[in-house]
């Protein structure tokens, strides 16, 4: 049995597929193989769901293995949500606006059964002006530790996607934008923070989320360029948010175009419908005909090379306004501060050599 196709089958369970899914029987060894693949693709919740739905037929040991793994993840998710509630409360007290996205926002806002959409950390969008204050608040009041210093002082506030702050074993990702690299830099941050918002209730507390269109674009960008190759859970997110969103491709197209994310949204929808073998829909038809600009396609392709750590920053220069801004960005990428290099165990020369090797290997 090809476990990768079982994983795709699990990821599509409950969606409108081209052909109905038939139950699959798994041996004990196959259950363990599937759970390894499921962990890589973040599908443990959907595997448990497929067992509950009778689509994966497993023996008692297999059942206990899936149930035990799923329950451990659920315990982690609940700890993450408890920390999220505390962070949201503290931000609220200090007047720091936030938008929750990914993990809890999708599990509680888009999935019919939140136990099928597991996650490991907290993703919060905050305004650039609040970025450093929000990071310090988590460090000072919740005992957080920043994962990496900035590339150069001021870099995160101007260009960075996120600050990773670890509180115990949970990571709080504070974002200024919803993607690293050129697409994230091109998206107008004030539209993300000041545009329409949604909300979810997390352990009794209402937490603001991205609005529906921004959330759809975010899951699409994540599926298209967040990981290469795309994780199956990211594709499932696209299908879930698309089905929850009123079918309004014209509105999504206009916003995604303005945000330079149209190529990524098109790729995400096409990948989702193709990999999960979903039945035709308004979204699939729309993606087949939409035409992103050449520059937007170039921005997206910069994420999909083996040297993406370097092609992405290079493409970012296309969207950073002004010569001075580009110069500051280039300087930070080429000559990071010593604290950053030390934290990664690099020297300036090894950093430069590494960049050169990666880019040349690509060719």
């Amino acid at each position: 049995m090809v476990i990768d196709s079982v994983a795709r089958f699990v990821a599509a369970n409950g969606l409108d597929t081209l052909t109905p899914l038939e139950p699959v029987a798994l041996s004990g060894a196959e259950v363990r193989d599937l759970m390894r693949v499921a962990t890589r693709h973040r599908l443990v919740g959907l595997v448990a769901g497929a067992v509950a739905d009778g689509l994966l037929l497993v023996d008692d040991d297999g059942f206990d293995f899936v149930a035990g793994t799923h329950e451990s993840w659920c315990a982690h998710v609940l700890s993450v949500e408890r920390l999220l509630v505390e962070v949201a409360r503290q931000f609220d007290e200090d007047g720091i606006a936030l938008r929750l996205f990914k993990g809890s926002a999708l599990a509680l806002g888009s999935y019919a059964d939140p136990s099928r959409r597991l996650f490991a950390d907290i993703d919060l969008l905050v305004a650039s002006d609040d970025f450093e204050r929000a990071t310090l608040l988590i460090e000072n009041r919740l005992g957080g530790k920043r994962a990496l210093p900035e590339l150069r002082p001021g870099f995160d506030r101007e260009f960075g996607k996120e600050n990773l702050v670890r509180v115990g074993r949970i990571e709080v990702d504070l974002h200024r934008t919803i993607a690293a690299g050129p697409i994230g830099l091109a998206i107008p941050r004030d539209e993300l923070m000041n545009g329409p918002a949604g909300s979810v209730v997390v352990a009794g507390r209402e937490v603001p989320t991205l609005g529906p269109t921004a959330q759809f674009i975010q899951v699409c960008v994540n599926a298209a360029v967040g990981d290469y190759p795309a994780r199956l859970l990211s594709l499932r997110d696209v299908a879930e948010v698309a089905s929850a969103l009123e079918a309004d491709p014209a509105n999504v197209e206009s916003v995604a175009q303005r945000w330079r994310a149209l190529a990524a949204v098109k790729r995400a929808v096409e990948l989702t419908w193709q990999e999960l073998e979903l039945a035709p829909s308004t979204w699939r038809d729309w993606a087949a005909t939409v035409q992103p600009s050449r520059v937007d396609s170039l921005l997206m392709r910069s994420y999909l090379t083996s040297a993406r750590s370097y092609t992405r920053p290079a493409a970012s220069l296309l969207v950073i306004p002004g010569v001075a801004g580009r110069a500051r960005y280039l300087r930070a990428i080429a000559w990071p501060q010593a604290e950053y290099l030390n934290a990664r165990g690099w020297s300036q020369s090894s950093h430069t050599r590494r960049a050169f090797d990666r880019v040349m290997r690509r060719r």
Binding site: F63, H70, E71, C74, P114, G204
Partner: protein, 95 residues
């Protein structure tokens, strides 16, 4: 007659073997196996012990006295853990 409901600040997820619950002031999760998971789901709406027993009697093939004893014990334990709270009929937490 006392009415109970889930503590609003308790987080929970459905698992294959019941419901996994985490309260706001405890580090350990509770796994509520059947019939505890059914009680937990019913307590999304404030209910008395009689109402809980009445809802469970059709699902679980056991004498009413057994179900009542199990429900009373479970609700008492969950209340002790802060996962369930007694409420007035208006829905406010009782002092």
């Amino acid at each position: 007659m006392t009415t109970y409901r889930r503590a609003s600040d308790a987080g929970w997820r459905v698992s294959l073997r019941g419901v996994v619950v985490l309260g706001p002031n405890r580090d350990e999760v509770q796994l509520l196996a059947p019939p505890g998971d059914a009680v937990w789901k019913l307590l999304g709406t404030p209910r008395t012990i009689d109402e809980l027993v009445g809802s469970l009697i059709d699902t679980f093939n056991a004498p009413e006295s057994t179900i009542r004893a199990d429900v009373e014990t479970l609700v008492a334990e969950l209340t002790e853990l802060g996962l369930v709270e007694p409420v007035s009929r208006s829905g406010r937490a009782a002092c």
